[in-house]
């Protein structure tokens, strides 16, 4: 019994030590465009964003970013994404995300004359087919996102280029 406990503790310590090595933080910048269309609010624009990401065991990743868009006034988004990526230099990824949009947009008033809320939330999927990384950082081009949101909204998002540095 003692031997089993000892082996288990050693295994845990080894695993923990190993996992410490496989957790990696990164920060990134991106150029992106967003189109959010719903019954009561349309937000759109091209813009830039910055975020923080973390990778677990080289396969699992999570990231959070803030973005600003221009074209239909100034709109902003805060997005949290999590998903799976392939190991290796070519490391395409698939993520689910949830985001909050606020700022300027074209409003269609509610029937009673009320203005729609100027913050809309959404959930969606994102794919990063052209993602490449090494031990120092990564680049990703043409990431595509699609989702649904408030007021029966749909959004399309495209990230032209994302570059990240690991630390």
């Amino acid at each position: 019994m003692k031997r089993i406990v000892l082996i288990s503790v050693l295994f845990y310590i080894t695993s923990a030590a190993h996992s410490q090595k496989t957790v990696a933080w990164n920060s990134y910048l991106q150029q992106n465009g967003l189109y959010y269309s719903s019954l009561n609010m349309t937000m759109a624009g091209a813009g830039i964003g910055a975020g923080l990401g973390i990778t677990f065991h080289e396969n699992l990743l999570a990231q959070a970013d803030l973005n600003i868009y221009w074209i239909n006034g100034n709109a902003f988004s805060a997005q949290f994404s999590a998903g799976y990526k392939k190991k290796g230099t070519w490391s395409p990824a698939l993520l689910v995300n949830t985001s909050v949009l606020w700022g300027s947009g074209t409003e269609i008033l509610l029937d009673d004359g009320s203005r729609p809320a100027d913050i809309v939330n959404s959930v969606g999927l994102e794919i990063a087919p052209l993602r490449f990384e090494n031990e120092k950082g990564y680049v990703s081009a043409l990431e595509l996102g699609y989702g649904i949101g408030r007021y029966q909204g749909k959004y399309i998002e495209i990230t032209i280029l994302k570059t990240g540095i690991k630390f």
Binding site: S37, S104, E107, D112, G113
Partner: protein
């Protein structure tokens, strides 16, 4: 920790993401009384008369304005309608002025008449439309001129705190020439709010008859009137939509363009005589049926009175009248 902070911010944002209710409307009975005095049949009679005048008029020279699919520049008329509108306003008891602005070959003739306000005569509510038209232009823009004339007729029997100025602008189809020259010459410096109408008589009950406007999702069925504003006129837009909702005057959809309304994506909502007003910061409200995003006869010879919905046009005129009464503060 960073992710927790982000979620905290998101939650905080959603907590404050409530809708903003329309302002409370005072003096609703008087507003609805004025709106109710509009005679729908009178509006349509004006459409038929003005259409005939346009269709029998000689088109302007289109020198310098090459024709295009949406721009049949060789078929623009206005001369005879200028006289007809001025004459109609005079017959109602107004002092109608025809203000000439610009030089040949495209002098703009804007027809203007006022009803002085009882309490704040220096504050002007401008009620405007353009009087030039391609072919007969039943919807574009005879429908709006007819509505303006009927509102002007009805206004003679009521008193308002602010001055109401009726203006029929010339040469809108050549790039809002008449209204631009009017504003640049300083005639609009006393305008506290403007109501501009451009195509208000075409509707369709067919599904998908209303196309989305430049990426902005709109209801699919084209059986409503757009009431469009920007941040300077958002309260008025809310009040008009609220009034229509409670009194069932017409069927309206309120649109508020972001900021001053001049951003690229919402610039399509500036396509009439209020465009420069938005640039200049003058609060302006735009009534339209959606033009080429709904009406298949837009800028075509087929834009005839029989293609209009008489009831829709009459109801929209009543709604515009209610907006005039609201903004000019009709007296009990």
């Amino acid at each position: 920790m960073k992710i927790k902070s982000l979620y905290f911010l998101i939650g905080l944002g959603l907590l404050f993401s409530c809708t903003k209710e329309a302002p409370i409307i005072e003096n609703k009975e008087s507003i609805l009384s004025f709106s109710g005095s509009i005679e729908k049949s009178g509006v349509y009679q004006w459409v038929e008369q003005l259409y005939d005048i346009h269709i029998n008029d000689t088109p302007l020279s289109n020198e310098g304005y090459p024709p295009g699919e949406l721009f049949p520049s060789g078929h623009l008329t206005r001369s005879a309608v200028v006289g007809a509108v001025a004459g109609a306003l005079s017959d109602m008891g107004y002092k109608a002025d025809t203000i000439q602005l610009g030089n040949e070959p495209h002098i703009a003739y804007n027809v203007v008449a006022e009803q002085k306000g009882a309490l704040f005569p220096e504050e002007v509510v401008l009620v405007a439309c353009h009087l030039d038209a391609f072919y007969g232009g039943a919807d574009d823009n005879t429908s709006a001129v007819a509505a303006m004339l009927e509102i002007a007729r009805a206004a003679r029997s009521f008193s308002f705190a602010r001055t109401i100025r009726f203006a029929a602008f010339d040469l809108e189809e050549l790039g809002s020439v008449g209204s631009t020259r009017y504003i640049e010459a300083g005639y609009a410096s006393d305008v506290s709010c403007a109501i501009v109408m451009d195509l208000i008589g075409y509707s369709s009950a067919e599904p998908d008859s209303q196309k989305d406007i430049f990426g902005v999702t709109t209801p699919d069925t084209g059986d409503f009137i757009f009431v469009v504003g920007n941040r300077n006129s958002s309260d008025a837009i809310q009040s008009i939509i609220s009034l229509d909702h409670t009194a069932s005057i017409s069927k309206s959809v309120g649109v508020i363009a972001p900021g001053d309304g001049t951003y690229f994506m919402s610039s399509v909502f500036m396509r009439s005589d209020h465009g420069l007003m938005w640039y200049k910061g003058i609060p302006a409200i735009f009534f339209t049926d959606g033009a080429n995003y709904r009406n298949p006869n837009y800028h075509k010879i087929s834009d005839k009175p029989e293609t209009l919905n008489k009831d829709f046009l009459g109801n929209n005129t009543k709604l515009v009248a209610a907006a005039v009464a609201l903004l000019a503060e009709i007296q009990p």
